[in-house]
Subunit: 180 residues, 2 copies
């Protein structure tokens, strides 16, 4: 990839417009969020705002807190397992362990959380364009190609507030909704 | 998955609206195109028209003919190799062999083609919402979970014309543009 474009915090690795390009495994705009590596492969800048694509590489770990996105739809495609928790549109709890090739869809407004069940898990995510850079705002930009051997600390409250505001995402206390 | 919804030829396996759901590996709306299995995991019906997600499982084989989509952006995320050919926005030929975890982006209007390099290749694709059902129109709907042992014949000319018209896709003769 050329590096001549810029896209904010930890950005500048993607073309910034609708041009064709390739990335090798490990390339993209990367950020560590606590114990996981998030890599943005495509952003709203390249798709006329339509969709974004990212991967999450994580060790076995604690659940990500329950949250919902006001405007962004999101998918999970599991490359290597993860358990997804959600409250469906009738308020019914769903818990599903996903293995390689399995798929989950979480439309906007649905409270959800997930937990990585094995080290070296990889999940590919696709979202409504724009949400893909949530992780660079919440976490720490990096050039690493895998997740850290030692987890970073939890982002500060102000970082959660900023990421939530910018990306229309509401975090709930785990005890509040999903028992994960 | 429930089967209570319908979505045209080979459809009816997806919710048809913005509801959360899960699919196990091998589930979805499926069609065989010649020698490859295409599985739609998510359609424009579930994402307010924003994006669609599908997989291609293929044997080592001939190149897919060069084509371009008038309005649909498309990505390739390689799960298990494929070679992508394209003419970039400056008319320069790019040929790239992609392995597991590698990524390619082809915006609307860019002529491209690909060739599967190994049996049991899997590529996950994401496109502007709507294009994901192209394969059900061009190929043959199926309940199979892998590609056929014996390739189907080439779809008839009228099928290419219909799929091209409905999904705003232009096919070129291989000799015309990309030497694959």
């Amino acid at each position: 990839m050329t590096m001549e474009f810029t896209a904010g915090r930890g950005g500048g690795r993607l073309p910034g417009g609708p041009k064709p390009y390739f990335l090798s495994d490990g390339e993209g705009e990367k950020a560590i969020v606590i114990d996981s590596l998030f890599t943005v492969l495509l952003s709203a800048d390249e798709t006329d705002g339509q969709f974004g694509v990212f991967t999450m590489d994580g060790p076995k770990g604690d659940a990500i807190p329950p949250h919902s996105h006001g405007t962004h739809h999101e998918i999970f495609y599991v490359v290597r397992g993860v358990t997804v928790f959600l409250d469906d549109e009738d308020g019914k709890r769903q818990v599903r362990e996903l293995g390689p090739g399995d798929f989950g869809y979480v439309p906007a407004g649905i409270v959800h959380a997930y937990r990585v069940e094995e080290d070296h898990t990889r999940v590919l995510g696709v979202s409504t364009g724009g949400f893909e850079r949530f992780f660079q705002t919440l976490g720490e930009p990096t050039d690493a190609t895998t997740y850290p051997a030692t987890p970073l600390g939890l982002p500060g409250r102000e970082r959660f507030v900023e990421a939530g505001r910018r990306f229309d995402t509401t975090f709930l206390r785990p005890s509040a909704r999903l028992d994960v």
